[in-house]
Symmetry: C2
Subunit: 140 residues, 2 copies
DNA sequence: CTTCGGTAATTCGCGGCACGAACTACGCAA
DNA sequence: TTGCGTAGTTCGTGCCGCGAATTACCGAAG
């Protein structure tokens, strides 16, 4: 259902706005919660061109949420890391976004919520790691 | 699951791009498949400010997909309608987008697909028409 | 009829977002 | 050393979304 996607999108965007973030900047912060990454890695993870990343990191850096650090192993490369403030905001935003999305399913009985989570998890798993081992379904 | 939303978004965006549309223009076409609407109505349906609609309709009109028609009852108002070409494209795009999204669940057995559709439908129904009749669940 | 508040849409200026092409600067191997 | 590949940036373009101000009209109240 496409419409359920709109709901999630809207909930996500609302959560971001309420924390003074754009959805993209929020996503960036969430990715960086785990660990710092290089620009190229971030682009791959978020599905963006390198040139798009520069701007996104620029804006987020200007807001004091992330920092560019030199990579010890590679003079060319850069590690993007959360600042103190960025880390706090990321935690808050992440929790809030989860809460809101959880809330969308509030009308469902717990068993159905579990079922839904399980099904969506399967869909994600099926689509997240394709490419390899396309044995029987002559894909492309 | 937020990630399933990304998948749907990506599938939708891909479908749009392949038909030479932006996601927003694709959405506009889909809404107009049913019938023409005024600018204000469209803004409400798509969750956009009126000033945002003007530009979106401008660009889509420039591509020859929609047309502004005067409203017989109200000289101020405008009806936005699909052109011939826009109608064809809307049909194609809509079918394609549905196919792609359907495909995301291809790895699930039919029974699970039905279950998923049912659950998501409930979530949508619960969230689409709130506001009224919040009787027992002291909502908000 | 005139006045006047509300409404439909547009215009303007701003900023975010995404892209590709061109460029810099470095890593690395031949 | 030469030269290819890679990490990031810059630049120019276009889409998108917003709020504030503006234009033009509707409709009701006086």
């Amino acid at each position: 259902m496409v419409r359920s996607t709109f709901l999630v999108n809207a909930a996500y965007a609302d959560a971001a706005r309420e924390h003074g973030l754009t959805p993209q900047q929020g996503q960036l912060l969430c990715v960086l919660m785990a660990q710092p990454y290089g620009m190229g890695e971030l682009g791959a993870m978020l599905g963006l061109a390198k040139s798009s990343m520069t701007g996104l990191v620029d804006r987020t850096e200007r807001n004091g949420l992330v920092r560019r650090e030199p990579d010890a192993r590679d003079t060319r490369a850069v590690r993007v890391a959360l600042t103190e403030e960025g880390g706090r905001l990321a935690d808050d935003f992440y929790a809030d976004a989860c809460r809101r999305i959880e809330n969308l399913a509030a009308g469902l009985p717990p068993a159905d919520k579990d079922a839904l989570a399980g099904l969506l998890g399967r869909v994600v798993a099926d689509n997240e790691a394709p490419e390899v081992f396309t044995e029987s379904t002559g894909g492309e």
